[in-house]
């Protein structure tokens, strides 16, 4: 290319100079190479709707933090139970009514005498102190094996002994038997597997997991129960939101698409349901549905009913409630979207090409109103969790062997003056779940539908 182009800055162009002084000819030009051409192309890759929304969402610090918090809670609820040695229904007899971060009696005793037994560990059954035993070595023959261990004054009137690497022998050595030089054994005593395995861990001088949230009055670990309850609450919330999503969007889409008399009738029904105070009806449904549901669970033996039966009548009636009453908001939103969208040209084009109503809904309408659907569904989850915990707190909803955050709080209410933390831990977790989901929902609304931004 000619040197003269170098000072042809667009701001200093003097047309006279260009056309008279430069004196250019066609031969002075040469075609640009492909590389040169490409370097001039300034087209950005088209950004998809979701990528665009994700970018907006990532910019929103509050929502991102809320999302991280929610993910942490999900990990706590779903993976946590694998990480701690307790389960939600195991009752540890020696660990009734413990405060936060305490060890069960078994573990405490074990901790106090730890290291004094060669390959054994021992624990007291807490029947008062025993001081008559002298320090010394004892030898026990048990099942053809000889075990040796030492008593100290810390040991009370009977001990439980187990060899560290063996599974089965877990026995009580009676005080009198030891004194006579014999061994009287009671096997096995009913420790939970958790307590046994814990005892083993300790014998191998590993550290034992404390009851971080304490235990309840029958010796169940509260952290395990809180994790379990959070899991139940989250699953119920999501399932209920899904039910609302499915029913609400189908109803709304049909209503909006058909229009006319169908729409009129369908929307009157929505208005009626809307005007009924739903929580009162929910309470009523909880009472009324229980017996028929249980009868149904017992009479039917299909796999689906078995799953429902495991969930319990309380949870199933929560789902039924959502299916009956809570889809109306969703259906209104979808109907509004559909009414707006069905006037679009591409829908007319699809119809002209002979597409069926079902196809139009599936291919054209639903994908285009996915934003509001996602937002409403996401905000439905915390409200479902709220409702479930409300019902469980009142003694409805989740029933006995199961636990949810609401039922944990309800259980704790009776002893609230003595053990306030029993209500506080599940209560705080519940608050954090609802708060983080609310904030994530707000962020999604801003990201997916910037027009709605407050």
């Amino acid at each position: 290319m000619k040197e003269v182009f170098k000072d042809l800055s667009p701001f200093h162009v003097n047309p006279d100079r260009v056309w008279t002084e430069l004196n250019l000819e066609a031969a002075d030009f040469e075609p640009a190479t492909t590389v040169e051409k490409e370097s001039m192309v300034e087209v950005r890759k088209s950004v998809s709707y979701w990528r665009d929304a994700a970018r907006r969402f990532k910019k929103n610090t509050v929502s991102m933090v809320a999302l991280v918090v929610f993910i942490l809670i999900v990990i706590f609820a779903f993976i946590g139970p694998m990480a701690i040695p307790y389960d939600y229904e195991g009752q540890i007899r020696q660990a009734k009514g413990l405060g936060p971060n305490q060890y069960s009696k078994v573990e405490e005793t074990i901790k106090s005498v730890e290291g004094q037994f060669d390959g054994f560990y021992a624990t007291s059954l807490q029947r008062g102190s025993f001081t008559a035993l002298n320090k010394g070595d004892y030898v026990i023959n048990f099942k053809g094996k000889t075990y040796a261990f030492t008593f100290t004054e810390k040991i009370k009137n009977s001990i439980i002994a187990v060899k560290a690497d063996e599974k089965e022998p877990l026995f009580i050595v009676e005080e009198t038997a030891i004194r006579n030089g014999e061994v009287l054994m009671k096997t096995p005593i009913s420790f939970t597997d958790t307590a046994k395995s814990e005892a083993k861990e300790l014998a191998l001088s590993k550290s034992v997991f404390p009851h971080v949230f304490g235990t309840d009055s029958v010796g169940r670990d509260l952290m395990a129960r809180t994790m379990y309850g959070a899991r139940v609450s989250i699953i119920i919330g999501m399932a209920a939101a899904l039910i609302v999503l499915i029913i609400g969007s189908i109803y709304g889409a049909i209503s909006g698409l058909c229009g006319g008399a169908v729409d009129f009738v369908m929307m009157r029904l929505v208005e009626l349901i809307y005007s009924v105070p739903e929580v009162l009806i929910v309470l009523l449904l909880q009472v009324v549905l229980k017996e028929p549901l249980q009868a149904w669970f017992e009479s039917s033996d299909s796999a689906f009913v078995a799953v429902l039966s495991d969930l319990g009548a309380g949870i199933v009636s929560i789902f039924i409630t959502f299916a009956l009453l809570y889809w109306v908001t969703m259906s209104r939103i979808v109907r509004g979207q559909v009414l707006q969208l069905k006037e679009q040209e591409y829908v007319t084009a699809a119809r002209a090409l002979g597409a069926s109503n079902v196809r139009i809904i599936r291919r054209h309408l639903l994908p285009n109103c996915v934003g509001p659907l996602v937002i409403t569904t996401c905000l439905q989850i915390p409200s479902a969790i709220f409702l479930e915990s409300f019902l469980s707190f009142l003694g409805l909803g989740v029933s006995a062997p199961m636990a949810s955050l609401g039922s944990l709080c309800s259980d704790a209410l009776a002893t609230i003056t003595l053990f306030p933390y029993r209500l506080l831990f599940p209560g705080i977790i519940l608050t954090i779940i609802v708060l983080s989901l609310n904030l994530v929902g707000d962020g999604l609304r801003d990201a997916l539908d910037p027009r709605l931004k407050k």
Partner: protein
């Protein structure tokens, strides 16, 4: 206007009737008779059915039930206080009065605190107080009522011993503080949020700019122009607010063991005392429906631009 009000009243009555019908049929959907216990003999059941008119066809039963309800005969308790008249239980034993007192106090508290807080936050938008209020209101709408009630109970009644609980003495005005705060907190936060948003909306309107151009002081702009227009969404919230306070009262009265209608309703639900459940549900539902009706009519007066005919078409 008049025809609109008549229409709304008719719709409200229809909704009450709908609730009564739903309640009635749900109660009848329970297998077996509500009078059926392990001990009852066929003769006893027959007698009970006769006595309560349960042998009639459902439609007649429903008619009798509705007619009796409007006559003030709400039925007879089956389990909780056997044989006692439900109307007497609800209204005669101060239960309704306590709950209404509590509910009205909470309603007033949430409005009296919520609106000024929202205004203040909007007026001082971006200040640290606005930020603090935003955090509090955001967290506030996520705290379940029973958690808040329990925390208040632990801190102020058990640990500090500052406030008495209502179960002890109903005459002590201090005893109302904790239940009212627990009931109203969510609504205070919600109303504050709502007011702030709609206030900020209103501030961007043309008439505010005009007022500013005229040289009206900021304070008067907020009070005379922005506030009045931003109150409309708050008024619509009054319906859900009433419903929320009623359901909240179930939890709060249970937590603080207040002998009100809410606690009684929960107990009757747990005991399956069907006539009480039915009567209370219909009563509370009517209350909510009535509140919604009032809101709709008030709304029309506040903002005559709203034409319901076009909205409904």
């Amino acid at each position: 206007m008049f025809s609109y009000i008549v229409k709304r009243i008719l719709a409200a009555i229809a909704t009450v009737l709908l609730v009564m019908t739903i309640t009635f049929f749900l109660m009848n959907a329970i297998p077996g008779s509500p009078f059926l216990t392990e001990k009852s003999t066929p003769q006893q059941i027959e007698l009970a059915n006769e006595k309560y008119g349960l042998n009639e066809p459902y439609i007649i039963q429903l008619k009798n039930y509705v007619v009796n309800y409007f006559k003030g005969d709400l039925g007879v308790s089956l389990k909780m206080q056997e044989g006692a008249d439900v109307g007497t239980i609800i209204f005669g034993q101060n239960k309704f009065l306590i709950s209404i007192k509590l509910g009205l106090l909470s309603l007033l508290t949430s409005i009296i605190l919520g609106i000024p807080l929202g205004c203040y936050a909007a007026y001082h938008r971006g200040s640290w107080i606005d930020g603090l209020l935003r955090v509090i209101t955001t967290v506030g709408v996520a705290v379940p009522t029973f958690v808040l009630a329990a925390v208040l109970l632990i801190v102020f009644a058990v640990k500090l011993g500052w406030l008495p609980t209502l179960s002890g003495s109903l005459d002590n005005p201090l005893a109302y503080i904790m239940p009212v705060i627990s009931l109203a907190f969510y609504d205070i936060c919600y109303i504050a949020k709502l007011t702030r948003t709609s206030m900020l909306d209103a501030i961007n309107q043309d008439y505010i700019r005009t007022a500013k151009a005229k040289g009206v002081k900021n304070k008067w702009i907020v009070l005379k122009h922005a506030l009045r227009n931003s109150l409309i969404p708050v008024v619509t919230f009054l319906g859900p607010l009433t419903a929320g306070i009623i359901t909240g009262s179930f939890v709060v009265e249970t937590t603080f063991s207040i002998p009100g209608l809410g606690k009684y309703f929960v107990e009757s639900v747990l005991n399956r005392d069907y006539p009480i459940i039915m009567a209370t549900t219909v009563l509370l539902a009517s209350l909510v429906i009535f509140m919604n009706l009032v809101v709709d009519i008030v709304y029309k007066f506040i903002d005559p631009r709203i034409t319901y005919t076009s909205k409904e078409a």
